[in-house]
Symmetry: C2
Subunit: 271 residues, 2 copies
């Protein structure tokens, strides 16, 4: 049976209309999926402990998706399985003046996970190909060059022992409308709403094309993209937990065996 | 009735022998304490959301304590109540060459929480008065000067809207022995053991004196120290959750009220 990661992995040319945001491959029942997810969250906790103890490999999770696709919710519901000590969340916003004065990977590289640790990128260097594509800030040759730079960068990370998992949270335009309406209706959520949400929504089709290009060009063996159907929040959380668990299990981190002079150490403690 | 924070707060001159590490002030039954703690963890989640939405104040939690006093366990069991996005954990280890080339607050100041966020220091600038005291690396005048520098620094943070909570996890020397023995006996925990644990343990009395001096000199109204009895893990977790919840509640963060043109925005979404 194919794993969730295999089912959702991008291979070859992406056309988003071939990927149904309401699909739930590998899971039909929300309650059973929630149960399997809880098991996976416990396994993530254990595997991260081993990763930390081993101190050789690291894990990088890249989250991308349209506004309201659920990046924040996913962090709240799935990524909390990680011990926060040893797991850094990096929300990448519009670059600061200092960041913008460097090449686009400068701030990204700084945030790469050290050995034994996990990093989660909430948005990422992919914004630096998506936004220029949508708003026509760079020519297509320059954007092509950035795909190559990104692929080389991610290959370097992988060679040094970093597992790179890239997740595109795929929602429909209709679902986004529902979520923006809900945000407007909720007194505690309304403050998050900005007119910018609406102007970006107006560029929906161009964002789809920008994502199709980036997912097609940058899904590699060392850093594959996955398209996670995300109209159903329960499926989004379930699928991501499964992908992360499988990746960590494949990395097979091992707690170092210590040959300690146990008897002597205990004697020192007991005297 | 006095709050847990009031009971554990340092006022005046500290003598650690007056503070029993096995004490459980304000809680007698572990099960009832666990229940109250769960309620507090939910309140922390809600209050942090409001802190983030408000975007004006921030929270800094400083954790100190002897080896095995439970700083890591506390982070795992209590600090996971925070949404990891908006809560950074900073483990301060022996300074790197770059850090050591700066004044001792350089790396600390960098880690201070921005508006709307939470930072947790696992060890802190207090190592820079404790270690010199224990190992006689600085004269007493120089250490006195550092207490003053620390007090001024923390006052600055407080003036800018950062609530500073300092927690000394207080265990007995006997309890440390039990925990180090347990670490040696557990195949998955043994790797954490180092001879350094034993050499630091040999300086127990000097560490106590160093803590007594730092807690006495640096417990201020704007950044009070609390001595958390930590031989009982359930009490340690319960007490810290209570102190953090009360502090956040006192900060009273408020979600901004937005005056949005709701009807017009909805019309734009629906067309």
């Amino acid at each position: 049976m194919k794993s969730i990661a295999q089912r959702l992995r991008v291979r070859g040319r992406v056309r988003l209309r071939d990927w149904d945001p309401r699909d739930t491959p590998g899971a039909s029942d929300p309650d059973r999926a929630a149960k399997r997810m809880r098991t996976n969250l416990e396994r993530i906790d254990d595997l991260q402990y081993r990763l930390h103890a081993e101190g050789r490999q690291s894990l990088l999770i890249v989250l991308q998706g349209m506004d309201t696709s659920g990046k924040d919710g996913l962090i709240r519901h799935v990524m909390t399985a990680f011990n926060p000590q040893g797991c850094n969340i990096w929300p990448f916003k519009v670059p600061t003046a200092e960041e913008a004065a460097h090449d686009f990977l400068w701030r990204i590289h700084h945030a790469a996970p050290p050995a034994g640790e996990v990093a989660i990128f909430n948005r990422s260097h992919y914004e630096d190909v998506l936004v220029p594509y949508v708003h026509r800030l760079l020519g297509s040759g320059e954007i092509e060059e950035r795909y190559r730079i990104i692929n080389r960068f991610e290959a370097q990370l992988a060679e040094r022992g970093t597992r790179v998992i890239k997740l595109f949270l795929h929602i429909s335009r209709k679902e986004q409308r529902e979520r923006l309406l809900a945000r407007l209706d909720h007194p505690l959520k309304r403050w998050k709403f900005s007119e910018h949400d609406l102007s970006e929504r107006a560029s929906w089709r161009r964002y789809e094309r920008a994502y199709e290009a980036a997912l097609t060009r940058c899904s590699t063996d060392h850093a594959p993209w996955h398209i996670v159907p995300a109209d159903h929040k329960w499926y989004r959380d379930f699928a991501v937990a499964a992908i992360v668990t499988d990746a960590l299990a494949e990395m097979d981190p091992r707690v170092p065996k210590m040959r300690l002079p146990l008897a002597r150490l205990k004697a020192r403690l007991l005297r």
